[in-house]
């Protein structure tokens, strides 16, 4: 899902950076506010960030014969709300862009948008919808994090198709091509991410039930998985 350094035309790079910037500001503010009010959640935020750090470093083989990696953003978005994972995603992406030449500084805005913004909002929205429908917690966690991972890669495909429309088929043909590379590869990995997120939530339910009750998305309902 990392668009390579320099591989987005200047206006797209600037546009996505501008689009992502307000989310970073809001995210930093909401995180600071929350940690000020509930400093005991610092540990859980660390776990959510670490989860994203681990998953986005794991390049896994997929059925299309190429490798890609999960993002791990969904779990944190469920715990801390959709904007909170934006600064965390920024740290992960900066680490990879600066040290690993994976992604890039010019494409940081676009990558942040697909991974931490679209991914987080899809995860939080689906989770809320699932809880409202009174689906079991594990099902909600799995669906939210799995689809959020896929949504990230569909977004990357859209971004690339917009920047590089096919000379013959235009945007649609180009999108089909990039989606074939990113989204299809991602399907088994998204399922893995969903399963791993359920695993962590199971551990949280066992060991951090009280903190979990303080989370807005988890509050107010019976927490039995």
């Amino acid at each position: 899902m990392h668009i390579m350094e320099g591989f987005l035309p200047v206006e797209h790079a600037v546009g996505w950076t501008l689009a992502s910037a307000p989310f970073v500001v809001v995210g930093v503010r909401s995180l600071r506010c929350r940690l000020h009010e509930q400093p005991e959640q610092r540990m859980l935020l660390g776990v959510a960030a670490a989860f994203s750090f681990v998953l986005s470093a794991l390049k896994l083989p997929s059925v299309t014969g190429s490798c890609s990696h999960p993002t791990g953003v969904g779990l944190g978005a469920l715990l801390f709300g959709p904007t909170a994972m934006v600064p965390v995603g920024l740290v992960v992406l900066l680490f990879q862009a600066l040290l690993l030449a994976h992604g890039g500084v010019t494409t940081l805005g676009a990558n942040l948008f697909s991974m931490a913004i679209v991914g987080s909002f899809v995860a939080a929205g689906l989770f809320r919808a699932g809880r409202r429908l009174q689906l079991p917690l594990a099902v909600c966690v799995f669906a939210a994090t799995c689809v959020a991972d896929l949504a990230t890669y569909v977004t990357t495909s859209l971004q690339l198709a917009w920047a590089f429309p096919d000379p013959v088929g235009g945007f649609a043909a180009s999108f089909a091509k990039f989606a074939g590379i990113f989204a299809i590869t991602q399907i088994p990995l998204a399922i893995s991410e969903g399963l791993l997120s359920v695993l962590v939530v199971n551990a949280l339910l066992r060991f951090n039930r009280d903190e979990l009750k303080g989370m807005p998305l988890f509050a107010g309902r019976e927490l039995r998985a």
């Binding site: 083989p61 014969g65 190429s66 490798c67 030449a101 180009s174 066992r206």
Partner: protein
């Protein structure tokens, strides 16, 4: 709960390992070199961009590139290790806390399922 967790872990391992068996090795390209299997999706996309827009020149180069593939995998391993270390620390302290709570005798934890 314990059993579910093991099943989840097994499913993830299977999802990861199965492609290694299921995906056939691609046929050799026109130059006789076998084409790469399990390349990164990012670099496959880069090739697609070069196909769609052959004249496109990347206008910015990475500030720092790992000196070799080995160094890159070192840094990726480091990233995973930092994350895994933090999660491991949390799990360790959570397990210890639970054990202490149980030993202290007050209100035996009956929620553990």
């Amino acid at each position: 709960m314990m059993r579910t967790n093991w099943l989840l872990i097994a499913a993830v391992l299977l999802l990861t390992a199965l492609p290694l068996w299921l995906v056939p090795r691609p046929a050799a390209g026109p130059d006789g070199q076998p084409s790469e299997i399990f390349a990164g999706a990012d670099s496959v996309a880069q090739k697609a961009i070069e196909e769609i827009a052959p004249g496109y020149q990347p206008w910015f180069a990475p500030l720092l590139e790992p000196a070799s593939g080995e160094i890159a995998s070192l840094l990726f391993a480091l990233q995973a290790a930092i994350g895994a270390g933090i999660i491991g620390y949390w799990l360790g302290s959570a397990v210890t806390r639970e054990k202490m709570r149980r030993q202290s005798g007050h209100e035996c934890s009956d929620r553990a399922d």
